[in-house]
Structures are given as structure tokens and as C-alpha cells.
């Protein structure tokens, strides 16, 4: 352009030049308009799709989180239930074990007592039998001794005395 102002400025420093032809402004505005028009559709579409995909992913993840939380809750509830059931069973088993042990102890004690009684009875019977036998033996021995001694010690006087005493005893 041959206007004098830009020419002067061209040699003397910074300036602004709004000559539409020198600055190619019209073409630039057209290019930018075209670019904005196409990019809005193209890039805007891509970005919108990307955003929707991300939001869908997030929603999906959130839903899965909710489902998983529910499952976790359910599982924990079941676990607690199972624990309490297990405790109950354990307590019952303990009770039953105690019962069985007590019963067993009682029965053992009874059995032992019975056995002891039996043994005592046996012992007494045996002792009685032995005593009886000893008594019989002693009596027999005494009678034998008496019978052996009798002929030597027995004379007529004594025989009469004995008869008298026996008669007295009878009387």
C-alpha cells in the first residue's frame, strides 16, 4: 500500500495497521468462520460423545458400586447371622457336653458305689463263711479234744456229778 502512514511507521517502530487488504483480514475472517463452523460440528461432536461416554462409565461404575455395597451389606448380615447361629450351636453343644459329662460322672459314681457295695457284700459273706468254717472247725477240734480227754478225766464220781448237774439244769 502506498499510503504514507504505514510507510512511515514501517521504518520507525511499532504501530497498528488496519488496512484490510494489507493484513489479509477478510480472508482470515472467512477462514476462521469456516473453521469455527466445521470444528463446532466435528470437534464438538467428538467432545460431546466423549463426555457422554465418560458420564455413562461413571454412572455404570456408580451403579456397580451400589450393587456391590448392597451385596456387601447382605453378606455382612449373613455373616453376622451365621456367627450368631454358630455361637448358639456352640453354647448348646457346651451345655450338652456338660450334661453328658455330669450324667457320666453320676453314673460312674453310682456304678462305683454299687461295685463297692457288691465287693463289701462279697467280703462280708466271705468273712461270715470263713468265720463259720473256723467256728465249725474249732467246735469240731474242741469236741475231738474233749472226746480224747474225756475217757481219762471221766470217772464214776465225776460222771455222777455231771449227771446231777445235767438233771439240775433240766430241772
Amino acid at each position: 500500500m502506498t499510503t504514507s502512514l504505514p510507510f512511515v511507521l514501517a521504518n520507525h517502530g511499532f504501530a497498528l495497521n488496519f488496512n484490510v487488504f494489507e493484513t489479509n483480514l477478510i480472508n482470515l475472517v472467512l477462514v476462521i468462520a469456516l473453521l469455527v463452523y466445521f470444528l463446532k460440528g466435528f470437534l464438538g461432536g467428538i467432545l460431546e460423545r466423549r463426555r457422554e461416554a465418560i458420564l455413562a462409565d461413571l454412572k455404570d461404575a456408580e451403579e456397580r458400586l451400589v450393587t456391590a455395597s448392597k451385596a456387601l451389606e447382605e453378606g455382612q448380615r449373613e455373616l453376622a447371622q451365621a456367627k450368631s447361629t454358630a455361637e448358639k450351636i456352640l453354647a448348646e453343644a457346651k451345655q450338652r457336653a456338660d450334661l453328658i459329662r455330669e450324667d457320666g460322672e453320676k453314673r460312674t459314681i453310682e456304678e462305683m458305689a454299687r461295685i463297692k457295695q457288691d465287693a463289701n457284700a462279697n467280703l462280708n459273706a466271705e468273712a461270715a463263711r470263713v468265720i463259720e468254717a473256723l467256728r465249725a472247725e474249732t467246735a469240731r477240734t474242741a469236741i475231738d479234744k474233749a472226746l480224747a480227754a474225756l475217757p481219762k478225766r471221766l470217772n464214776d464220781a465225776k460222771r455222777a456229778e455231771l449227771i446231777d448237774r445235767s438233771i439240775e439244769a433240766l430241772g
Partner: protein
């Protein structure tokens, strides 16, 4: 080269020089780079300030970009170490992409500089060479930090005959990376400028749209190749 045409001027090889010490740096590249970096930072900060579970607007766009770059880095570098290099690859891609599109879409010529003109930072060879050299550094760093000295086996595999070619390749990699990007973007800017200087209305439009397409592709190519090189450096041979 100066074309004197009735409608618009076309300047190539003119730069806004800033002098720092002994260095003459291209000021217009720094200005547009800062604008690009600022725009990127602004978008990222805005998009991540209020993160929500429902990705909306800028956050959604950033997440989409991150997904895209993650897939790119993972495909090229591999599952094992791609996380270390995702920020580098992502930064390269985003900076190049925003530079290219910014250069093609922002009416830079509204701001008139004393010399040179604003444009895509990637249309300057210094920018692309810097990035390509960073990629080379990343290649060596990735290889050495992952495999130690065993990394140099890469040069004699599958056979030692490859050694000279692989060494030459280390020089051609940054060269091709930088020249591809710089050439494409500069050519696009020039084609648009030349067409605009000849026929100011409508005729440059197809070239501008094509330029948008190619510059997006260039960003993708640069990032993919950078990731591929790094992946090559950390690649574990299946013994």
C-alpha cells in the same frame, strides 16, 4: 527479497533484531512465541482451574488432547517409559500446533513492526532447529538413562555394518525434523502471502485451508517422529 505490488508487501529475510551481548536474536519470533506460550498456558490454567467429574468445555477439550497425546506417546515409546516422555512430546505437539495455527489464523499483520513481521514461530529456522536438537538430546538421554552404556549397542544392531549409517542418521534426524517443519510452515505462509498480494480476496482461501491442514499434520509428524526416536532409544531388544 521485496515485491513491490499495489496491494500488499511481501518481506522475506527481514527480522526485528534484538541484540543481547553478541547475539542478534529474531525479536518477532520471540514475540509470537510468547503469545503462543501465553495462549497455551491460559487455556491450560483456565481448563484445569475448576476440574469437575463431568468434563465440560475446556476441561473436556484438554482431557481429549491429553488422551490423544498419551495414545501417541504410548504407541511410539512403549508402555514402560512413555510416562517420562509424555510431557515433552505433548509440549512439542501443542506448541507446534498452536504456533502453526496461530500463524495461519491470527491477523499478525495488524501489528506493524519496525522490521520483519510477526508470524508462526515455527516459520523461523531457529525455532525448529532448537526443537529438533532438543529431540536429539532427549533421544540420547532416554537411551543412556534407560540402558546405560548398553544403549550404544543400538548402533551395531542388527549388524555392525550399520554403524556409519546410524551415525549419519544422528545428524540427519535433527536436520530433517527442523527443515521439514520450517519449510512447510514458511512455504505455506509465503504461498498465502504471494496469493494475497496478487488477488487479495477468496483466491488465497483454498491455500489457507490447505495450510491449516498441512500445519496440523506437521505438528503431528514432528511429535510422532520425536516420540518414535525416543522409543527407538529405549527399545528393549527381544533376546
Amino acid at each position: 527479497m521485496l515485491l513491490h505490488l499495489p496491494l500488499a508487501e511481501l518481506e522475506v529475510g527481514h527480522h526485528l533484531y534484538w541484540q543481547i551481548g553478541n547475539l542478534n536474536i529474531h525479536g518477532q519470533v520471540f514475540l509470537s512465541s510468547w503469545i503462543v506460550i501465553g495462549a497455551l498456558l491460559a487455556v491450560v490454567v483456565l481448563g484445569t482451574r475448576k476440574m469437575e467429574r463431568d468434563p465440560r468445555g475446556v476441561q473436556n477439550l484438554l482431557e481429549f488432547l491429553w488422551d490423544y497425546l498419551r495414545d501417541l506417546a504410548r504407541d511410539q515409546i512403549g508402555e514402560k517409559v512413555y510416562r517420562d516422555w509424555l510431557p515433552f512430546i505433548g509440549t512439542l505437539f501443542l506448541f507446534i500446533f498452536v504456533s502453526n495455527w496461530g500463524g495461519a489464523l491470527i491477523p499478525w499483520r495488524i501489528v506493524h513492526l519496525p522490521s520483519g513481521e510477526l508470524g508462526a514461530p515455527t516459520a523461523d529456522i531457529n525455532t525448529t532447529v532448537a526443537m529438533a536438537l532438543l529431540v536429539s538430546l532427549a533421544f540420547f538421554y532416554a537411551g543412556l538413562s534407560n540402558k546405560g552404556l548398553k544403549f550404544f549397542e543400538y548402533y551395531v544392531e542388527p549388524t555392525p555394518i550399520m554403524l556409519p549409517f546410524k551415525i549419519i542418521e544422528e545428524f540427519t534426524k535433527p536436520l530433517s525434523l527442523s527443515f521439514r517443519l520450517f519449510g512447510n510452515i514458511l512455504a505455506d505462509e509465503l504461498a498465502v502471502a504471494v496469493l494475497a498480494s496478487l488477488v487479495p480476496l477468496l483466491v488465497p482461501l483454498p491455500v489457507m485451508l490447505l495450510g491449516l491442514f498441512t500445519s496440523a499434520i506437521q505438528a503431528l509428524i514432528f511429535a510422532t517422529l520425536a516420540a518414535f526416536y525416543i522409543g527407538e532409544a529405549v527399545h528393549e531388544e527381544a533376546h
